[in-house]
Symmetry: C2
Subunit: 209 residues, 2 copies
């Protein structure tokens, strides 16, 4: 699960860090982000909870450290969304391409590989997408009905995951080599519909159930 | 690469069959479907070309046997497309859900796993999607400009691959448990835009280059 090169200071004994991360991954995958506790993770790792806080900060920061995710969604997504809901689809696709075509893209492919081949990583990634991405993003899109929001978010995820799969893993042409502006013009409006468009009568009915 | 249970008669010695399939996978992945030849595959497998034809039929049939693909695209796709280009997006999504929610869905997950974790299978799948799916599908959509067709096909592939990834691999809710009609209403129009809609000025410009 080494996804991205990390920079900066890493406090503490590497073995202790690793056993905390291992315990945390297990807890987040098995119990989910909400139910997992620093105290429980510390117990599994055989360390004091204060040491977990000292090494990793908050529970959210610990979860990010577990995933080694190429970006920090809490930092980056607000920027992408700051222009408001119009054209958020195009901005998301443009931002996504910039990350995946950078050196961080290799980390993305590695994470995708790991999630597809390993149920445990899939659980961890699902939990990460739900609690660290979707939950942070949707409240800022104040013009959409919050009841639809989880469905909209999982639809956006289908388009983004599929773009990664076809462009960066399968490398299907002509999409694999298409310039960013072509991809943004082609895919942006579809993502936009998922975020703010009409999802059809059936989708609306499902929300009311 | 065991994707689907096979039924019916399988002629020939299992070892010979397997060495032909092994040689064929290598040839299709390395040289592509067009350049690979039955003669070359037979030579690699140390058998007579007539035996390859006897066991597997045409080169196309041999390729399908290599992939163990859950459906035969040449049989199935014309049915999905037979209603013409309107609402083809909804029909594709509905059909896709029916396959993936059937026992054949496990074969789809296995194929996706294999393609993501293994560059060689990714090459084989890319070649299969291009020559056995896209090439068969697009000419029947006579109302679209054939110059756009490969881009449109790879865009459809992003949405389908992403739907598989999020619903069946990551199992992100609420999409993972959404009834078919909700998914069709939500995703069908997006696929429809990829097939027949306006892909934007940048995409049009890319085609004219």
């Amino acid at each position: 699960m080494h996804m991205a090169r990390r920079t900066g200071r890493r406090p503490g004994n590497p073995d202790t860090r690793e056993s905390i991360l291992g315990a945390a991954r297990e807890a987040f995958a098995e119990r989910g982000f909400e139910s997992a506790s620093i105290r429980g993770i510390a117990t599994s790792a055989g360390v004091d909870p204060a040491l977990v806080h000292h090494y990793f900060g908050t529970k959210e920061q610990l979860f990010k450290a577990c995933m080694n995710f190429p970006i920090d969604p809490a930092e980056v997504l607000p920027q992408v969304l700051s222009g408001g809901p119009d054209e958020v689809g195009e901005r998301l696709v443009r931002f996504f391409l910039r990350i995946w075509d950078s050196p961080a893209g290799a980390a993305g492919v590695a994470l995708m590989r790991s999630a597809v081949s390993n149920d445990w990583t899939a659980r961890l990634l699902r939990e990460f997408v739900t609690t660290q991405m979707i939950r942070h993003v949707l409240p800022s899109l104040t013009t959409i009905d919050q009841a639809d929001a989880p469905l909209r978010a999982s639809l956006v995820a289908t388009q983004m995951a599929g773009l990664a799969m076809v462009r960066y893993v399968l490398k299907l042409e002509p999409l694999a080599s298409a310039p960013h502006e072509v991809v943004v013009a082609a895919i942006g409006p579809n993502v936009q519909r998922y975020v703010t468009g009409d999802l059809g009568a059936a989708a609306a009915a499902a929300q009311r159930e």
